[in-house]
Amino acid sequence: MKEVIIVSGKGGTGKTSLIGSLAELAENKVLVDCDVDAADLHLLLAPTIIAEHDFIAGVKATVLAESCNSCGLCEELCQFGAVTMNQQALINEMSCEGCGVCAHFCPEQAIKLHDHHCGHWFQSQTKYGPLVHAQLMPGEENSGKLVTKIKQEARQLAEAQGLDLLLVDGSPGIGCPVIASLSNADMIVAVTEPTLSGWHDLERLLDLADHFRIQSLVCINKWDLHSEMSQEIEDACKKRGTEILGRIPFDRTVVDSQIQGIPVVCHNDSHAASAIRDIWEKLSVRIKESPADSVPPHLQTLG
């Protein structure tokens, strides 16, 4: 099975629009939306949810009011500023990391830890194939663990259905959820744009892929907003040995298709759509060429 992760560093460069179109073009795949705290792929693919599951991860501490004698030890021990002392100790769930140190040392056993419900994940069917996606509750943590969870589920689903490709929509940034989504990846497709921020963030993302020894391929979206910079980005990529898969022009049909809730390649007359078809043609060759027994980089489960 091959895994291709669509990432960008900078947000809003067109990851989800691209993968929405690859969903239409690629066959025998499972789609995975790993942007679990701002998931949008379902808005393009109109999934029917087959199964919904709770996502429980980590713990939170609560104070049993009847047992607390206000000694203040928990406030002193908490490294996250989650405890305030009034008449009794009060734990701010937002700041609590669930380390359990307060509960362990409380002389009155007045602090209990309880499992924390952070979100939901879904197995869905779309007209383009199965989709595994999730929704972290707004403001929650453990995004990396949820990414790891839905990727595992997607792999199992692919194996069970004899599908040989995982197409993964990643998060912006280069931190916890992105690193979790890169585990087992055969290659990343980095979507960038010809802006100073797009380029700056791309470089950090490519450094991250190099760090984990994962092959990178680059797409320049909205390339004609600054054609000179697009050329500079291409040159910089070539210098570091990173292949450019293609360029996608700025095209209002991308926004139109998002509003209609369909992948942009479903528009026959769109310039962006034909550029994306060319990109898929190249990418599908790279996927076939990538070694089947590639040793996955060892990445721990991150929370």
Binding site: G11, A38, C99, H104, I174, L196, Q258, G303
Partner: protein, 278 residues
């Protein structure tokens, strides 16, 4: 006053707006780039960065000469950062949340503090604007300790503009906590509204006041205006879609260069927020 600029969805114009607000402000102002994974504010404000320091977190180092292999450090750690096989104790520093539970639980005092670098904190000035950002080390997963180091630079006698990272999870939360007001900037598309609404749900839970700024108005449809009306959320400003703004942004130009009259509007917006929060 602390104002955070957030969005839910990435690429909707947080840094564009945050840097334009810092440039438009009339009094003492500070810009804090809280997107430590992909900081971009420096590309637009071009600060002179005079101060640079490593940011590190404390992780355990086991002194095996003192260790009795009692297993208590492994048992208290809820982040799988310590394991023990027979007479070998291993630590996984990148899993550690620095709760210090293992230090405290070890009766033999066999654990000493080791520092793990997670990134650098850089500060300086861009004209009259005080500037700080964090650059997380590539390969590092944990953004929050560095983000908090950035936030700790906040000067209470300044107007502090915090440029939040995308998303609605912990880095977003850490940025907006204890802010007086949040400006949610979005674009008139299904993705833009969907993710902004998630961020708004989180802000409702935290009781942090917020308003919406619509960027690229005219590119999509009127769903953001309708949402604001239905949810009784103030739509504070609309920035039109204009290819020239996009081209100016591409080069690292400020929004105020493309639309000079916006300076006045942003000042009025800041005045209104100061009054509301006074």
């Amino acid at each position: 006053m602390k104002i955070a600029i957030a969005s839910g969805k990435g690429g909707t114009g947080k840094t564009t707006l945050a840097t334009a607000l810092a440039l438009a402000a009339t009094g003492p102002v500070q810009y804090l780039d809280c997107d430590v994974e992909e900081p971009n504010g420096h590309l637009f404000l071009r600060p002179q960065l005079d101060n640079s320091e490593q940011c590190a977190v404390i992780v355990p180092q086991i002194n095996e000469e003192l260790c009795t292999y009692c297993g208590q450090c492994r048992d208290i750690c809820r982040f799988s950062a310590i394991t023990q096989f027979g007479q070998t104790v291993m630590t996984f520093p990148e899993m550690c949340h620095s709760c210090l539970g293992c230090f405290r639980v070890c009766e033999e005092k066999a654990i000493s503090e080791q520092k793990r670098e997670i990134g650098i904190l850089e500060s300086g000035r861009a004209g009259d604007i005080l500037f700080t950002h964090g650059r997380m080390r590539v390969g590092e997963a944990m953004a929050v300790p560095l983000l908090n180091a950035v936030k700790n630079q906040a000067q209470d006698d300044h107007l502090v503009i915090l440029d939040a990272p995308p998303g609605t999870s912990c880095p977003f939360v850490e940025t907006v906590l204890n802010c007086d007001h949040v400006l949610l900037i979005t674009e008139p598309t299904p993705f833009g509204l969907h993710d902004m609404a998630l961020a708004a749900t989180a802000l409702n839970n935290f009781n942090i006041p917020y308003g919406v700024i619509l960027n690229r108005a005219g590119l999509g449809d009127d769903r953001v205006q309708r949402w604001c009306e239905e949810h009784d959320v103030p739509l504070l400003l609309e920035i039109p879609f204009d290819r020239r703004i996009a081209e100016c942004y591409a080069r690292g130009g400020s929004l105020l260069e493309s639309i000079p009259e916006l300076t006045h509007q942003l000042r009025e917006l800041l005045d209104t927020l100061q009054e509301v929060n006074a």
